[in-house]
């Protein structure tokens, strides 16, 4: 972003804070406008914080001294909280990621892709994580925007024995394969996926290999499968 644009946005935000919303709405370039809106949200939040003098807990980081990309992340969290107050789990979110509930994930993802302040047009990666043999599974989405050049990480956790997450295949096409891979390794079912089946492993493989409690099947088509640890030692 050039200094010129930053200046423009700053001016607009100041005017908007004084009550003149048209200053932002009159910006012609869509991208700049959305940036200005994001900046406005941030400014308003800071103002609110100063007023209420809330004791800042661990998760609401003072944004003055964090790095640029993290601030953007915060902004997006703020936007999401405004739009979907029930779905964001604030306590579990940090400056690096946003924890959300799986129920409305499809709507949220659509919002993330289409909202001018977010425009996350590219789904970088879907990572499945097993949080431990007794705990839940988690799906982590790394999103990136080619327009704003910012990134965000979304985390959704799901129950181990009833792992279900809405599919974002219709939002980002690459979701198709990434979700199949996560399903393949963790057995997380992505609801609404057209053709959810194993991708890297054979279709008749048993179990979900990257879960921490995975037990290798004894034989596969009559071939004895060596146990992982035995293979190592």
């Amino acid at each position: 972003m050039t200094d010129n644009l930053e200046q423009l946005i700053n001016d607009a935000v100041e005017k908007a804070l004084a009550g003149d919303m048209d200053a932002i709405n009159n910006i012609e370039d869509r991208v700049t406008r959305s940036k200005a809106k994001a900046a406005l949200v941030k400014a308003k939040r800071e103002a609110a914080k100063e007023q209420t003098e809330k004791s800042s807990d661990e998760n609401s980081i003072d944004s003055s001294d964090v790095k640029q990309d993290l601030t953007i992340n915060e902004n997006i969290a703020e936007l999401l909280i405004q739009q979907f107050p029930d779905d964001i789990i604030k306590e579990l979110s940090s400056k690096e990621h946003i924890q959300i509930q799986s129920k409305n994930w499809l709507i949220i993802s659509k919002y993330l892709r289409d909202d001018p302040a977010c425009l996350f047009d590219s789904l970088q990666c879907i990572t499945g994580v097993d949080l431990g043999e007794e705990s839940d599974l988690e799906v982590r989405y790394n999103l990136h925007s080619m327009t704003h050049r910012h990134a965000v990480e979304i985390r959704i956790s799901c129950l181990r024995n009833k792992a279900k997450v809405p599919s974002v295949e219709s939002i980002w096409r690459i979701g198709d394969w990434f979700e199949r891979e996560t399903y393949d390794m963790y057995g997380i079912e992505f609801e609404g996926h057209r053709d959810l089946k194993r991708i890297l492993l054979p279709e008749d493989w048993e179990g979900w290999p990257l879960r921490k409690d995975y037990e290798v099947q004894e034989t596969y088509h009559g071939i004895v499968v060596p146990k992982v640890k035995e293979g190592w030692e």
Binding site: W177, L210, V228
Partner: protein
Amino acid sequence: MGIVKGDQMVLNIGPQHPSTHGVLRLKVVTDGEIVSDIEPIIGYLHRCFEKHCENSTYEQVIPFTDRCDYIASMNNNFGYVVAMEKLMEIKVPDRVEYIRIIMAELNRIASHLLALGVYGLDVGAFTPFLYMFRDRERILDIFELTCGARLLYNYMWVGGVSHDLPVGFVETVYGFLDYFEPKLKEYNEILTYNKIFIERTADVGVLPPEVAISYGVSGPNLRGSGVKWDLRKDEPYSIYERFDFEVPVGEGTVGTTGDCWDRFYVRMLEMIESAKILRQALKNLPQDGDVHQAIPKKIRPPKGSIYQRTESPRGDLAYYIISDGSPEPYRLKMRSPAFTALSVLNEISRGWMLSDVIAILGSLDIVLGEIDR
């Protein structure tokens, strides 16, 4: 194309087939010569990379990354060590950074040479393939000189590199560059501007930028569609911000932007840019400095996770590393650029002919080792 609908036939291309670039199987539904649907079936080369990583220490992961994209092992090492160093907040000496850049760019040239040569083979030109392999051999010789290995290097370590540069290395690389740069003209003459080659690749398999982004296609394939996005420039890691180079994009010179020819030619231009970076790096390479200085005794990153992207020859290579404070990664996920590139195949090759599918597949430059992991 494909106005008349006849009976459809299912054709299995691969896993053993001359031009599937490894062990890929394509389930192709054809109507005569015209392809109406493709389902790539992968996993024939699955070696449980991510499961292995959870059972080995952080150092032991590096040789596994070699074996993912075996055409550009240096770049895979690079991505991993950059991620690890960011996670552990290690600052590596300048000399190490320069050595890494030199190796990564050399490997990028080698990888592109292989991709372009094999692409020639895919469309039936045998000779450019041998020309490019002849020159790739020189790069492999340089790697052999440096670390003793020609394909799987295990060269970059967390905090440093395994060996310092050998005596006479800089001169050898200069010699290679002086030899290599004029050769690009030869490649262009025999392949790039060949009339038949243009007929075969121009306007074929057009990948529009928005489709490319939605499919997560990255690297030269994305740039071939005219999107100026290169992590080395846009999100510089290591010391790439110190170098002056261009990001070539496809312009539809002989056809439509984003066709096979553009993807091919972007790689050709990238080799020139890599050579440029190499010359700058060789010029500024610090003369002394211990390459083992910053290597930690024990690799035990603090609790936390990192998602680090780097630009491999095939595109956006990322590692998602979750550490729980133990010497073994809790979870290590590799985001492979070839995986996303292959997923777009069905989208852009429906309606083309069987020969074009081979041409499109070749132009995406996939490496099955990286797709299947």
